[in-house]
């Protein structure tokens, strides 16, 4: 336990001038702003955003659908030749409600669903939902 002391009393006006000067001297420092589209920050490896789906690995176990806290994942029927996926169901993701909590990535038994660095998902309101095929494509190939 320590008792915090009140700061030393400054001479009236002089203290204020000191405080003003301490703010004013920041003009000589470099700005910290990143000019986003031109400059890009370094994203750490674990940075997570867009969900990708590997259609060949997905076994249609519906665990991701169950664990999704926001019910953003629903299973869709896709006619695709995948011997491991007997029921032919694959997840689709609604990015309008996805909170990027990566629970689906953690629980996926075959690592078919995973989160990537891609984060620039500008979409109109009605096209947030990605079908399983779209989830397997890189972002610039998804046509919306």
């Amino acid at each position: 336990m320590i008792e915090v002391k009140e700061p030393k009393k400054e001479v009236p006006l002089i203290g204020t001038i000191k405080a003003i000067a301490s703010v004013g001297k920041h003009i000589f420092q470099k700005p910290v702003t990143l000019q986003y589209p031109e400059e890009r920050p370094n994203y750490p490896d674990r940075f997570r955003y867009r969900i990708f789906l590997s259609l060949d690995d997905c076994v249609g176990c519906t665990l991701c659908e169950q664990v999704c806290p926001n019910r953003s994942i629903t299973m869709q029927k896709v006619n695709r030749d995948n011997p491991r996926n007997k029921r032919h169901i694959y997840p689709d993701v609604n990015f309008g409600t996805c909170t990027v909590c990566r629970n689906c990535e953690e629980i996926c038994p075959t690592d078919a669903i995973y989160l990537t660095h891609t984060f620039e998902l500008a979409r109109t309101r009605n096209s947030f939902t990605y079908s399983p095929e779209e989830l397997s494509l890189p972002e610039d190939e998804v046509i919306k």
Partner: protein, 377 residues
């Protein structure tokens, strides 16, 4: 000339002013019905609920592991502390204690989160008083914490980093180096920010002796955290009922007996210094070993079952954050109830803001450190 509404009703000698829910200094969606006599505030009635999402119901509807997502969104400026509060309860209920390494990592993250939360508060408090610039200095420092969070968990604010039985991902040498770097640089910057506030006579005169909260009143109203400690009661859950490994760490609880706004300001800044001290110790002591309990394997996440009742409390940046968890043996919690410290601290505002000026009302509501994700849940 049209006489404004304020003067029409001469039978009452006060003006009813409606502040919020959208107002620059209500920190989100607080609404205050204020009765004014000139500049003097006669009565304040806080009206809350504008950010109410009923997280408790949402938690009941989901698996134990999913509730973390909602807890992240309670105190969104210090999300790690919220996760910790929930996990303290959930792990006791499910009987899955986290391994040693995870506990130390959690301490580091919780304290970083406390720093992030207090920095937001300091900046916003400056704005409440009309200081435009310290806000940015605080946020620049906070951004460094959030970069560490991104490197650790992959997300800035809603980290969802701690999981039942440990943490989602281990921390590596690069992250430890980043955190050490931060703890080296941060105290200097903190003093710089501190000086831009306290050197100012006007800042001192706006805060000293304003918003006196007597310790008895504070306890009666359930006020905890920095507000209680600024009223002179040395009570901190980290010391009173140590969770994680806080009993193995050497740190002090800042206390002030001045009971006013300035005391709350100073206590919070001292807490940030103590947090740096805790991080410095904890980062050196992180032992090797597993970072999650194998009983809570990731593929078993939705099969965890718990029965009984647990009330666990942690010291979040706002105060005592308690989670009351009832399980009925199923995979979903039966009842989740959150003791939200900011809600309790807000309930004392009508007492604090009696017969003060309007300007002081905002200074006082600024020192309460309201985050509406947590108040309304």
């Amino acid at each position: 000339m049209v006489v404004p509404d304020t003067a029409q009703d001469t039978s009452k000698d006060w003006v009813e002013l409606n502040i919020g829910p959208q107002h620059p200094s209500t920190h989100g969606v607080l609404r205050l019905k204020v009765k004014l006599d000139g500049e003097i505030v006669k009565d304040v009635e806080p009206i809350i609920g504008y950010l109410h999402r009923n997280a408790e119901k949402l938690c009941e509807m989901d698996y134990y592991c999913d509730a973390l997502v909602y807890f992240d969104r309670m105190d969104y400026v210090g999300a790690m502390n919220m996760e910790l509060g929930y996990l303290e309860a959930a792990e006791k209920l499910l009987g899955i204690p986290p391994p040693e390494r995870a506990q130390w990592i959690r301490v580091v993250m919780a304290e970083l989160s406390r720093i992030a939360s207090h920095l937001v508060w300091a900046g916003a408090f400056g704005l409440d008083l009309g200081m435009l610039t310290p806000f940015f200095y605080c946020f620049i420092e906070r951004e460094k914490v959030l970069r560490i969070f991104t490197a650790v968990s992959g997300s800035r604010q809603q980290t969802n980093y701690m999981s039942i039985g440990g943490v989602y991902q281990d921390i590596d040498d690069q992250i430890i180096y980043d955190i050490e770097q931060f703890t080296e640089e941060f105290p200097k910057k903190l003093e710089e920010i501190f000086n831009t506030f306290v050197k100012n006579d006007i800042f001192i005169s706006r805060n000293k002796g304003i918003g006196i909260l007597e310790p008895e009143v504070a306890i009666q109203y359930g006020v905890t955290g920095p507000m209680l400690r600024a009223s002179g009661i040395e009570y901190d859950v980290r010391k009173a009922e140590p969770y994680l490994v806080y009993d193995k760490i050497n740190f002090d609880i800042p206390v002030s007996y001045k009971k006013d706004n300035l005391a709350r300001f100073l206590v919070r800044f001292e807490e940030m210094r103590q947090s740096v001290k805790i991080i410095k110790q904890a980062i050196k002591k992180i032992p090797d070993g597993p970072y999650f309990n194998p009983k809570a394997k990731k593929s078993l996440m939705i099969r965890l079952r718990g029965e009984g009742e647990v009330y666990a409390r942690t010291e979040s940046s706002k105060g005592e954050f308690g989670v009351y968890l009832v399980g009925d043996g199923g995979v979903k919690p039966y009842r989740v109830h959150v003791r939200s410290p900011a809600l309790k601290n807000l309930s004392v505002l009508p007492v604090l803001a009696k017969d003060v000026m309007i300007a002081d009302l905002f200074a006082i509501s600024g020192t309460i450190d309201l985050v509406f994700g947590e108040v309304d849940r």
